[in-house]
Symmetry: C2
Subunit: 369 residues, 2 copies
Amino acid sequence: MSSKRFERHNIAKLAGYVPGEQPFDAPVTKLNTNESPYPTSPKVQDAIANFAIEGLRRYPQPTADRFRATAASVHQVARENVIATRGGDELLRLLLTTFVDPGACVGMTDPTYSLYPILTAIQDALVTSIPLEADWSLPHDFSSVITAHQCQLTFIVNPHAPSGRLIDQETLRMLASEIDGILVIDEAYVDFVSDEAHDLTQLAVNSDNIVLLRTLSKGYGLAGLRVGYGIGPEHLIEPMLHKTRDSYNLDAISQQLAEVALADQAYAKSVWERVRLSRTDLCRDLQALGLQVFASESNFLLATVPPECPLSAKALYEGLKARHILVRYFSHDRLQDKLRITVGTDQENAHLRHHLAALMQSGSVSTPT
Amino acid sequence: MSSKRFERHNIAKLAGYVPGEQPFDAPVTKLNTNESPYPTSPKVQDAIANFAIEGLRRYPQPTADRFRATAASVHQVARENVIATRGGDELLRLLLTTFVDPGACVGMTDPTYSLYPILTAIQDALVTSIPLEADWSLPHDFSSVITAHQCQLTFIVNPHAPSGRLIDQETLRMLASEIDGILVIDEAYVDFVSDEAHDLTQLAVNSDNIVLLRTLSKGYGLAGLRVGYGIGPEHLIEPMLHKTRDSYNLDAISQQLAEVALADQAYAKSVWERVRLSRTDLCRDLQALGLQVFASESNFLLATVPPECPLSAKALYEGLKARHILVRYFSHDRLQDKLRITVGTDQENAHLRHHLAALMQSGSVSTPT
C-alpha cells in the first residue's frame, strides 16, 4: 500500500455517489429507484433475438446516428440537436466537462438529484445550492442568485425529484433568458407528465442556452441498457458530440435496442398512461392511510409521515425493508419525515399498501413471524 | 445561433478525436482499425439468445462485479485490483480525471495512440511528448524527462502502436520505480504477444504506481461491445471505481456478454494463435513485395514504402481504398512513408497482397475497370 497519495485533492475529499439499493439475490418489491414497473417494448426482445455476434466484431457507429435520427424524428427536431449518451448521467458529466471551468459555480436547487453536487465536485467546480420553497417551487430570487454567483451552468430536474412537482414552460423560458449560463433541464421523468402539451423541445433547440436531458431508463423500461440523450441548440450539442464524448460511448447492441424502443411510441405511451392511472390510485390509498402526499407529475410519490404516526418515516422504511419492500428514505433535513415511493404495478402497490397499513397499525417494525 | 461562447477555452481550441474509417454501407476489406478478423466466442451468441428484456427493466449491477471476478480469476489477482470500463477509452479518461490536475503534465511517447493528447487537453493538462528512437525504443533519458516535467501520469502503449514493438518487463519495472507519477501501460494489444511469459499483472498489483489497460475490443472480437478493464493496486483502482466512474458505466447486456467472452479463454487463445501465424505470413508477403516491415508483437504491421517504389504510402493507401481495402495512413512526420495494416484472415491478407502488388507494379492508383 502506498504512503503517497495520487488522487487529486478534490477527488480525495469526495464521497462517491451511492445508488439506491439494488438487490440481485432475493426477490423484493422494488419501489425505490423509479424504474418502470413494466418491461420495455416486445420489439426489443425481437431485436435481441436477431442480433448476431458478427456485428460486435467491428467498432460501433461512433455517434449513434440511427438512434439520433429516430430521437430527432420523435421530437421533431434536427439530428444535430441530439446527442446520445450512456444514460442521462453521461450527459450531465459531458455538460460539466465541456462548459464549466474548475473553480466556477454550478447552480442547483435544494433538494435535488444527489448526483449533481458529486459530478460538480469531480469537475472541481463549486455548488451554488438554492433552497426550494416549502411547496417545492423555485424561490422568486432564484435567477438573481444564479446570476450573482456567475453560474456557468444550472441544473433543474423537472418534474422535480424527489417531490414530483412540475415547473411550467413559461417559468423556465423566463429563467433561461434571465441567467447568463446554460440551463440544463433534466427531464428524466417528463414522460409521466399528465399534460401532453408540456413540451420544451422547440424552446430548447431555438434557445441560446437550454439543454434537455432525456432517458430511456424510466419511461421505456430500459434502466439496464444505459441510454439517454440530450436535446439542445447545435452550438451546445456539437462540442459534446465531437470533442468531449468518449469516442464510442454507446455499444452496437445498446444503439440498436434503444432505437427500437424509442421508435415504438405507441407501446411507451400506453405504459406511461398505466403508470399515471396507478399513481392516482396509489396517492389516494396512501392518503387514506393518513399520509400527506404531494401531487406528482412523475412516476413516484413523496409521502410525508405525520407526527401523530407511531412510526417515523425511517422506521417505516426499515419495517418495509424487513418485509422485502424497498422504498427510498433520504436523511436530508427536509426529507426526514418523508418516503419516496416509486409507482409500481397495481399488484405491487397493493402489496405496499397492505404492509404499510400493518406497520402503521402495529406501531412496531418487527418482522411478522 | 449564439454570439456568446459557452465552451471552456481548452475545449474550444480542441480538435476532437477522429476514429479510423468505419464504413457501414459498402462491404470492404477492413484492415485499418485493428479489430479481430474472427468473431467472438460462440458462447456469446448463446448468451444473447437467452437474454430476456425483463433483465433490462432494472438498473444494472453498478460495478460489474461478476465480470470483475472473472477477470480477477483469469489474471490471478483480487477483484479489488480490477475496474471494468466502457472500452479502454473510459479507463484512460478516468485515470486523467482522478489523478491529473489541470495544468499538470502528462507524459507520452511520440508517436503514440493519438487519443492520449486529446484526452489530456480535455482535462486541461499539458502534454510532455518524448520522441522514440529510430527503432521505436524508449530513449535512455525517458524517465528523467518525465521526472523533470513532474508528470503526474505517463502513458505507454505496449506493444507500441503503431509499430508493434514490445518493451520488456524489466524495463517497465525500472521506469515505474524511477518516476514519481502513475505509469499507465496500455495493453490493448498484449494478447498477441508471442512470449506467453510476458505478463505484467503481478508487477502492477504489487506496485505503487502501475495501472494496466486491457480491452475486449481486439483480442476477444468485441470492439462493438465497448468493454475494457484496468488492473492495478487497490489504492489506484478504488477512487476510479467508487468516485469518478459514471454510476452505471456498463449496461446489463455488456456485462454478461463480456463475462462469457472473457471466461472462454480456450477460444480466445486459439484466435490469438491464428492471428500470430497469419502475422508471420503477412509480414513475409509484404517483405516479398519490397516493403520494410517492423517486427510486430501486435495484431498489425507497420510497413515502410521504400523511396524507390513508384507510389508513396499515401498513394498506396488511396489506391487500396479505391479498391475497397482499408488500411491506416498517418500524416505524422515520422509515419508519412508507412502504412499500418491490421492482420486479417488469410483470405483478407491474400486479397490485400494481390491488390498491393498490382498497385506497386502499375505505379498508378487508378481503379481497375
